[in-house]
Structures are given as C-alpha cells and as structure tokens.
Amino acid sequence: MLRYSLATMARSGGRLAAGGVAVAIATAFITIALLGNNVVSRTILNSLSAQYAQADLVVLRQTPQGWIEYLPLSAQAAAQVPGVAANHAPYQLWLELAGPSRRELLSASVMAADPALVSAPLVLGQAPRGDRQIVLAADTADRLSLGLGDTVEVCHAVVAPPQAEQPDQTSCQDFQVSGLTATDQSLTGPASVFLSPAVGAAIAADERVQDAPWFSLRLAPGADPAALADTVAAAVARAVDQIEADQKPGAGPSDAVITVMTPDQAATQMLDKQLGDQRVLTGLLLAFAAIALLVASLVIANTFQVLIAQRTRQLALLRCVGADPGQVAGSVLLEAGLTGLISSAAGFGLGCAIGQGALALAGRINPQLQLPAGIELTPVTWVAPLLAGLLVTLAAGLAPARLATRVPPVAALGPLQPADPARPGGRGRLIWSVALVLVGAVGLGVALATSQTTPQAASTGRYFAPLLTGLAGAAVFLVGLLLGACFWLPQLVAGLGRGLERTGPGARLAVANTRRNPGRTTATATALLVGVVLVAAMSTGAASLKRSINGLLDQEMPLDLALMTSSPSFVSSDPDQPIDQFELTVPSIPAGLAQRVAALDGLVASASLPGTAVSLAGASRAAQLVLLGVDPLAAGAVLRDSAMLSGLAGDTVLIAPWLARQQDWQEGERLTVRGTNGDQLELRAQVVSLNGLGTALVSLDNLTQLAPAAPTSQLWFRLADQGDPTATLDDIRRLVDDAGLDSADQPTLDGSAVERARYDQLLDTVAAIAIGLLAVAIVIALIGVANTLSLAVIERRRESALLRALGLTRGQARWMLTVEGIFMAAVAAVSGVVVGVGLAWIGVGVILGTARGQTLLTIDPLQLGLTVAGAILAGALASILPGASVARTPPAQALTTDQL
C-alpha cells in the first residue's frame, strides 16, 4: 500500500500542495511562538545575571514565596568575612542634576570599588574619586549636554526625621564629571548617575536610604564559594536580625531568610517571578497559532475530500482487485501522514528561519537587549510543531479515509456520472450546533448580566469570573455556529447568488458551481469565516474599548494639561491666633508666556486661573492657602468632564478632600474667606476631588472681589484629539525654559495628556499585533479558497472544455472562476464581520460593565471595510492561477481525454 500511496501522492502532488502550504504556515506560526518564548526567557535570564556583573556570590533576602526583600545596608559589613575580596550594595538614590540644557531628576547609585562588581562598565574616563567627582551614563550625559570634565550642580533631598515637623531640605553641590558608563544592567532601579562610595554613603544618610536589593561579592583567589556561601549567609542573617531587633523591638524576626548563591542560580530562581507576563503572551500567541492550525485543518480536509472524490474510480478498481476497506483507508491516512510530515517539517524550517532573522534584526535595532546569539532548539520547540502539524493533517484525513472505504467496487465498472453530492449535515449535527449556539448565547448573557460595574470590583477576583464565562460562551457559540455552517451558509450563498446571477453567464455559472457542492463551499467559506470573525471582533473590540475607556478617562482625568506655579499652597494655622500676616506669596505665570503657550498648535482651548493668598476660617480651624478662581465657562471648554466643577456657584468654595479632612471642615459648612486687602466672603464648603489641581477653588467673580489684581497662578489647556501630546508638551517645556524664569518661579507641567496618549497607543499596539497575528489565519484561509478553486478546475476539466466548445470565451472562463472566488470570500467576509462585531460588542460590555451605560459600540468602518474588501480582493486573486489553467486548456483535448 505504501507504494500505491507514494505513486498517487506523486500524481496528486500539485493538488496536495495548497493544503500542505496551509499546514506549513500554521506550523511555522507555532514554531515561532515557541522559539519566541524561549528567546524571551533567555533574554531575561541574561539580563538577570548581567546585573550581578562578574560577582562570585550574591546575597539575597527571600520570603518563603520567593519574593525579594531588601537588605539593610548596615548588614553589608557582615558579608565581609575572610575569603571575600570585595563587596557591593547597589542601593538607589535620587539626585537632581542641572545640566546646561535641562534639569532632571535621576536615579543614582554608588560605583562598586571592585571593577568586577560594576554593573555599568566605564566607557570613558575613570571611576569617581574623592567627594567631588561623579560618573554619568553616556546617554544621560548627552541629554544634559554634559561631557567629561564638565561641572554639574547636583542636588539631593535632606529628609527630615519622621517625627520632626519640619519640611525636607535640599542640598546642592558642584561635581565634576570624571567618567561615562554604558547602560546600567541592573534590573532594580538601573542608575544613570554613579557616585564614589564615600559620597554615596553620605547622600544615602541624607535621603534616609537604608537598604539595597542585594549584595554582590567577589571572592579572594582560591576561596571555595560553596563553603563561603554558608558562612556569609550565617553572618549576614545574624547582622540583619540584630539590626531589626534594634529598630523595631518586639516585632519578632521576619519570615524572610538570607540566601547566598551564585549569580546564575539567583537569575534562574528569579526567572519564574519575571515570566508571569510573558507566559500570558506566549499563551496568546499559541492560541492564535491554534486558530491558524484549525483553519489549516479545514483546508487540508477539503483537499483530501476532493482527492477521494476524484479517485473514486481508482479506489473502486483497487477494491475490485482485492483491496479491503482497511487497506483503502490506510492508504489515504498514509498519504495524509506523509503530507503532514513533509509540510510541518517545511513549516518548522520556515519558522526557524524567520525566528533567527527576527532575532538578528532585533539585535541590530536595539543592541542594549541582552539577546541570545541564536535560536535554541529545545525538544519542545521542535517536537511540538512537528507533532501538531502531523496530527492535525492526520485528523483532517480521517473523514476522507472513511469516505474512501464507502466506495463500492462496482463504481469501477459503469461510466461515472457526476452525481449531485449529498447535502452535508445530518440531524445530529443540527441538534449539536443549535445546542452549542444556545449554550454559548446563555453564557454570553450570563457574562453580561454579572459583569462587574466598578473599577473597585475590577481589582478583585470577581471581575474575572464573568470575563471567563464570556470567553467560554463566545468560544462555544462560535463552535456551534461553525458546526452548523452547512445549514446556514448555503442558504446565504443561495440568497446572495440570486442577485449576482443576473450579471452575466459567467457569474451565473459561478453561482451554480458554488451551489452544486454545498459541503465544499461551506468548508472553504468557514475557514475564511473564522479568520474574519476574529479580526472583526478584535478591531471592533479595540475601537469600542478605546472609546469607552476614553469616556472613563474623561471622568478620571478631566484636564489634559495644566501649567502651574509651584509654591507652598497651604499653611495650617491655629484658630485662636488670628492671621494678621500672610506668609504665602503667589508666584505668577508671566502674561507673555501664557500667550505664547496658548498660541501653540496642539492646544484647542485654554483657561487662565488667577490665584491669591487668603485665609479660610471654619468653625473649628483656619488655614492660609492659595485660592484659585475659575471661570466656569472657560473651564468647561477645557475640561473633558466638568463634574469636578459642578458644585461651583456664587456662594460656594470647592475644597479638596484631604484639606477638609485635615481642617475638619464639613460639607456645607460656612467658611469665612478673607483676602489680602481685608475683604471677606461667606462661602459654603463643597468637598470635591480637585485632581491635584489646587487646594481650594472659587468662581472667578468671587476671586476678583477678594483680590482684583490677582496674578495668573495656573493655566489649563485642552489638547487637540488628533495631535501628538508629547510634541506639544515638549513645545510648552521649551517656551517655559526660554522664558528665563528663576527656578523658584518656574511653572511645572501637569495633566493626563501623556498618560491618555499612552493608553491609546497601548491599545492600538495590542490590537494591531493581535490583528496581524490573526491575519495569518486569513492568509491560510485564502490559500484554502485558491485550493478549492483549483480543485474545482481539475474536477470540472471536461465540463469547462465542454463550455469552451459551446462558446465560453477564455475571458468568460476566467471571470467564472473569479466570481466564484469573490463570491465565497464575500459570503465569508460579510457573515464574519456581522458575527465578529456582535461578539466584540458583548465582549466590551463584559469587560467594562454594562451598567455603566458607557458601552459604546464603535465600529471602525475603515478597518472593517478593509477587512471585507481585502478578503474579496484576495478571493479574486486566489482565482488567478486556477482561472489561467481553465483558459489554457484546449477544448478538444479535454473532451477526448477520459481522466481517471
């Protein structure tokens, strides 16, 4: 039988090719997903161990669950047992550096004294020495326009002791840049500024930094790491216990233990903790790959079905000469197995090639990533794709194999009448598909009904139950729909076909052809349907989510941008001591700057808020603060959601909740507001979140009454929806810098514009990637369309020849195939879009909660239109090759050759 299978395969090679390509693409997809997973793991592992530089041992403090706790710095000395040559603790400091071009708050650390422990190796100059030298990461130096030998002002906070009632101070000193480093490989707070150990220790004391994520050790030559590990662990553990007992007497020892291991061991142990997110990603990738494989299985099953139909006479002949049904089925399965093996091997090779190429490209684009040099073929990465490809092809061959055993030997004798194929789908199938659709619909309904409505619930586990119900419901619904495709798709084909038939004889023939074998049309269209449903659902879901999330963001972040003067805006005071002297000064934004900023392109509306120092007295306590005045009309145009200002009226003052709490002012309480000129107003307190935009707000009229010439204290802006917020932000920063104000008077930028843009971009990126991955399924399905068409061409050779003899021109013959391809693609695309949009809508409802009333079905007509148009165009393209083959066949030849 093997010889027979090989011989028939050789004859049917071309016909098997399309199915094989489909399987190969799906296999390549799986291979890439697995390889990618492997590469990401190794990249993380590489960077995890790179942060320890060339350390011999690492001291960590781990909870029983494997989480890292920081080590007290004062225990560092304990690690210096005999045999340890050097010892480094990468604690994190914050420094503000003022370069010629800009000021920046930067993460800083000490540069290890021992070069083997330095996680950011020097590329230029030398390590910081003494108490006036500093080393910068090269990119940071660039950004601040600093070079080797330059002097830079470095400021750090001197944090007040916890109990002391005094504010933090700032201490500034000039440093000289002594060296530049490569990017810091440390994963916990990578630093861009490095200090000498002495300076680091002094600043750490000022900033009250008391711990470090780990200690790294270099051992003396000839020391035994294993033996020293235990000694160090014991010594450090003792020191830590001692320190904590001193600091928190009676707290009892923490359940975290000190462990000492090699950097590789530490990295491997931490990998699992780091991989959580990536697992999800790999899972998603594999889910998409599984979808691609499912589509490929539809294509290949179709191919085998047609091949069996074509070989009916041959198979019958085999039966006549003594082959039993088992042998016939075996030969078909053997053929499926060989096809599966060959195409999955090809797909695996393709996947490896793409993986390696992508790795090389990624390495070139971002040399900082600790990428491995090449892909690594673990058993899983090659067994899984090959096995998946093989099994899917075999499974797809099962039904055709059974079909082959049903060919009766007599079929070899009589002339073969192309009988009408039986309509697919029995009662059982109908019942199953209806049942699944109903169960799925109920699942979706339940998910919608129970979907959590508040963000608070989102953080609890209850949020995920409806989500999972919804996902399962959607999956069951879709399976039922696809299972029943043979009942509704042919109806749809018939309905749409009726309209198309009128357009000419070619179209009429094409429509008749799609109807004559509903089973095959259904299978072909289904393969495409799966892809289109998922792409449509994904793009509609993303668009709707984006809009709904924007609605939520409008509430949470009503203001895009605020330019505000920074000043102490609040001083608490005793009610017994009347305030006779105002301690607050209100810095102002110069009018020229305000005008220049407001004139920027990216801004569509602005409001200026004057501020003045006032005293505010309630029944219990009084305070001095900067009161802002807002014009409700102007602010309404700027704010995306004006709920914040809804309580603002002629007789109210808006008070931030934290101020109300601190001063013990109640909602509705009468407050006496007194301005610098002594004028007074009686206003009702309205406690409302001001989103960090100030402490107290009144209407503009009230403010002018208190302080007629109050300077502009804040500027509010609304950004254009289509603009680039980062660019606008940069523009504003530049204008502010150019204004040449004292650093105390420099207004700061605040607002949610950038965060909003990040959300949008994140959603767009995720959706684009998902759609790209799903598009693979569509490509495979289109190979399926081409496959079905060319099989049809082969099958209908005689018929096409007859039509040509009767007067069908070459163009009409080609057009016939094109219409057939377009028609199948259109039916699949249109129904796929309808189903996909429906599912997306439910999905968005479940994710955001229906009760919020904000589930907006946003259809992205461009994207959906492109999907449908793309599918239809591809259907037309898929008909090119088969169409050419029809047109090429000379009518006489096809009429005379009686092909088996």
């Binding site: 002339p415 009448q417 192309p418 009988a419 009408d420 000419g504 004889p505 009429r508 008749a512 052809n513 109807r515 004559r516 005689r798 018929e799 007859l802 039509l803 040509r804 003899a805 009767l806 007067g807 069908l808 021109t809 070459r810 163009g811 009409q812 000379p890 009518p891 006489a892 030849q893 009429l895 005379t896």
Partner: protein, 252 residues
Amino acid sequence: MLTCVEPSTNTGQSIRAIALAKTYGQGDAAVAALRGVDVEFPAGRFSAIMGPSGSGKSTLMHLLAGLDQPKAGQVFLGDRELTGLSDNDLTRLRRDRIGFVFQSYNLLPMFTARQNIMLPLRLAGRAPDLDLFDRLVSDLGLAQRLEHRPSQLSGGQQQRVAIARALITRPAVVFADEPTGNLDRRSSVEVLALLRLAVDQLGQTVVMVTHDPTAATWADQVVLLADGQIAGRLDQPDPTTVLAALDRLGRN
C-alpha cells in the same frame, strides 16, 4: 412538426477541408492522425463519417469544428476560413454557428434540462428564441422533463436534450460524434430520426461520426476514413453498400 420554420440566414452551410493534416506528439512519439484530408460536406445535407477505430474521425471533426488547430491545411465554413482565426473569434464562431452532440451527452450536471438547452444562447448573450425552443421541446418529447437535472434523465432523454441544445442557436453545422454509441436501438432510432428531421425540415447541415452501419444509412452520404486519409465515399447508402465498403477497408 417543424414544417413552418422559415430557414434563417445562418442555417445550413457547407463545410470543407483542404489538405488537412494533424500530428499529435513530437519526435518519435509523433502520431499522424490526419494526413492530407480533402473533403466537403454539402450544405443542408446529412453526412456520416465512418472508419476503423483510430482512423482519425474524431480528430477530423474537432478540426472542422474549430476545437483544435491543424498542423497544415485549411477549413472553410461556407466562404469563411476557420484556420488562422484567433481563439476568441473561434469561440464566438462555435457559439453562434456550430452545434455539438457527443457520445456521452455532456450535459452540465448542475443545470436543469431547460437551462442546459438555453446555455449557448446565454453564453452568447442572445435573446432566447422561444418559438424555436417550444417546437424543439415538443418535437423531442421533453416537455415534461424540462425542470429535471441530467442525473434524473435516461440516456436517450439526455441525448435529446443535447440535440435541442445543439439546434437552439440555428447553427450552420451540427457535429455529432457517435451520438448513438451509448444508446439502445429504440433510443438510437429516435435520435437519428431527429437529426434527419433537422436536415429535412430546418435545412441544417449535419455531420455525424458513427461505427454503426445502420445509423449511417440515415445519412445522405458516407465519407470513409482510413489511416488519416479519405478512403472512399458512398451516396444514398444502404446497409449492404455500407457493410461492403467497411469490409473493403478492413481488408486493406
């Protein structure tokens, strides 16, 4: 009956071959199927082509019908030369002026009898000649069978549908390649009578390939083919002369 049908301009033209040659394959495998055939099938007559298997009858018919290109020689339909026409011109010519009847009926399985008959007109985008259609249908006894698919018709019925399909365009020539090859005697007689009727009443030119001497006697003339060449010609054939001529061919 078809008596009242006025002959259309298209109906009944002669078809003529001059030094027609055809070779299949190349080099050693080359088979000379036709080697210099000169023959004329007169307009409005019923001609039969006979000869041993492999003598080139089907090949000759395909060339005459413009289904294939000859190696050398010319074919004329009336005054018009077929050889050298482009594929699209040939297709149009076949569609409008040539009818086919095959041994294996060759109806399209997905169309009903009515759709199969109308197919050539649809392909040409011509308005259906309902008059002719009704007459053909009633003469061929197909009135009750029009909405049936080929798989629901007997062989004789399918062949009658095929004849109706060949005649609906009022072609200049009807070619029939062994139209009775798959039929029993009674159905054969029906089919032959119909072809005869088309010649007598519609003035059609009919060219029929056959192996059956009895079928050949329905024709006005018999052209004998052997080894790709014309081997003789019989006018007003009857069973005895046909058998004698075939006998002679067999002996050579």
